[in-house]
Amino acid sequence: MEAPGIASPRCLSSRRTRPSRLGDVPIALYRLNDQIYAIDDVCTHEFALLSQGFVEAGAIECPLHQARFDIATGRCLAPPADRDLRTYEVRIESDQIYVRVGGPRG
């Protein structure tokens, strides 16, 4: 099952991330080098929203305590977090981004 189309890929840029929700789960969409990625938006350290943080070198840095995660894989790169983020499969069709619900990939 897929959630309805979230946004056009044109709304995203390397500097413009987009928070969204899959049901109850906060996620965020990122654009890196023309690829769109969807990952959990809640930092695995405490409860900050990563999409309010800083994208640098393919990673997202948590705005509050500076944990870092690889955007493409969700892998935790720096403390104080120590758990990876879940990632979600993304499909682009008719200029809309779709994120697959019901099973994170990877």
Binding site: E46, A48, Q52, G53, F54, P63, L64, H65
Partner: protein
């Protein structure tokens, strides 16, 4: 520990004149005066002889004479007269500080004098610009300087502390916030679209309906915050840069530590509409001043609790992003100054 190699605002230009004026800056007592040609001068506020504050003395021409035994110091801090004797020991000197006068403020460099370059003075040109109406003021704050910086980087507090003037609940619940950063800069950009104008804006801008409001906070270390603030009637293109028909202001803040637990808060408010209308400038100023008095109460109450237990835990909320990024810059700059100091001491 303070950041030393910076220009700080020390006084309003009108505070410094032919009567010596003493103020503590970064934990050091400083005396200010002007020579007969109007040049501002700053010394350590302590006579080289028996430590009396030189600010208790008086000017004889361009020499500051100590109130106790009459030693006189010229503008380089060199003793030029000791009553009752001809020889003056070459060690009879007081420390001087580089000073500059800009934007109706007196600025002081508290670090290594060799590094004092007036080109590094933070730009506050709105306070001295014919295209803006502006008024400045001073508040003495009974808190550490960083609490004032924190306050200006998180404007959700307006909804709770300043409800009668510049705040309303939209600020806390409906703001879209973006924080950007550079090694020595944090910018917090806040937009509140299609919401009620706060009381101050209604009075000043005569808005009758909802507005689009912006608050763009620019922080540079140690403690300079220049806020671009205003609003236009909603839907008239403010986010795209069209500010006609609205109010456009700058709220300008320069905080100078006095001690670890007290601060000098220099601030000003400028507007670029109806700039020659001094009554308007005063009216806007008074609204902001009311808000700032409320902040000063908050700062001293925070400091009282911090003094009781400096290590009490604290949690962070999403609105703290800009606050945290600014403190990280200060921590890094502090580490760099410490490291440079150790290297210099080792040499």
């Amino acid at each position: 520990m303070f950041l030393r190699n910076y220009w700080y605002v020390a006084a309003a230009n009108t505070e410094v004149g032919r009567k010596p004026f003493g103020r503590m800056i970064l934990g050091e007592p400083v005396v200010f005066f002007r020579t007969e040609d109007g040049t501002p001068v700053a010394f350590e506020d302590r006579c080289a002889h028996r430590h009396l504050p030189l600010s208790m003395g008086k000017l004889i021409g361009d020499h500051l004479q100590c109130h106790y035994h009459g030693l006189r110091f010229d503008k380089t801090g060199t003793c030029v007269r000791i009553p009752g004797q001809d020889q003056i020991p070459p060690t009879a000197k007081v420390k001087t500080y580089p000073v500059a006068e800009r934007y109706h403020w007196i600025w002081i460099w508290m670090g290594d004098p060799a590094l004092a370059d007036p080109a590094k003075i933070t730009d506050f040109h709105w306070l001295d610009d014919p295209n803006w109406g502006a008024k400045t003021s001073y508040l003495h704050v009974k808190s550490n300087w960083q609490l004032v910086v924190d306050n200006l980087l998180d404007l959700t507090h307006l909804a709770f502390v300043h409800e009668t003037t510049i705040g309303n609940s939209a600020l806390a619940e409906h703001a879209v916030v973006k924080v950007t950063r550079a090694p020595n800069n944090v910018v917090v950009t806040r937009w509140i679209i299609d919401q009620l104008a706060p009381p101050t804006f209604v009075k000043v801008g005569k808005f009758s309906g909802n507005v689009d409001r912006w608050q763009i906070i620019d922080y540079v270390p140690p403690a300079f915050l220049r806020l671009d603030v205003g609003a236009t009637p909603t839907g008239t293109g403010a986010p795209e840069g069209r500010r006609a028909g609205g109010i456009n202001m700058r709220n300008l803040n320069a905080i100078t530590p006095e001690t670890e637990t007290t601060s000098h808060y220099f601030w000003g408010q400028a507007h670029d509409f109806d700039v020659k209308n001094k009554e308007l400038t005063q009216r806007i100023f008074e609204q902001i001043q009311t808000a700032f008095y409320e902040d000063v109460e908050v700062f001293s109450a925070q400091q009282r609790n911090l003094d009781l237990n400096p290590n009490a835990p604290q949690i962070d909320i999403n609105a703290d992003t800009g606050v945290i990024q600014a403190r990280r810059i200060v921590d890094r700059l502090r580490d760099e100054e410490l490291a440079a100091g150790h290297m210099a001491a080792a040499e």
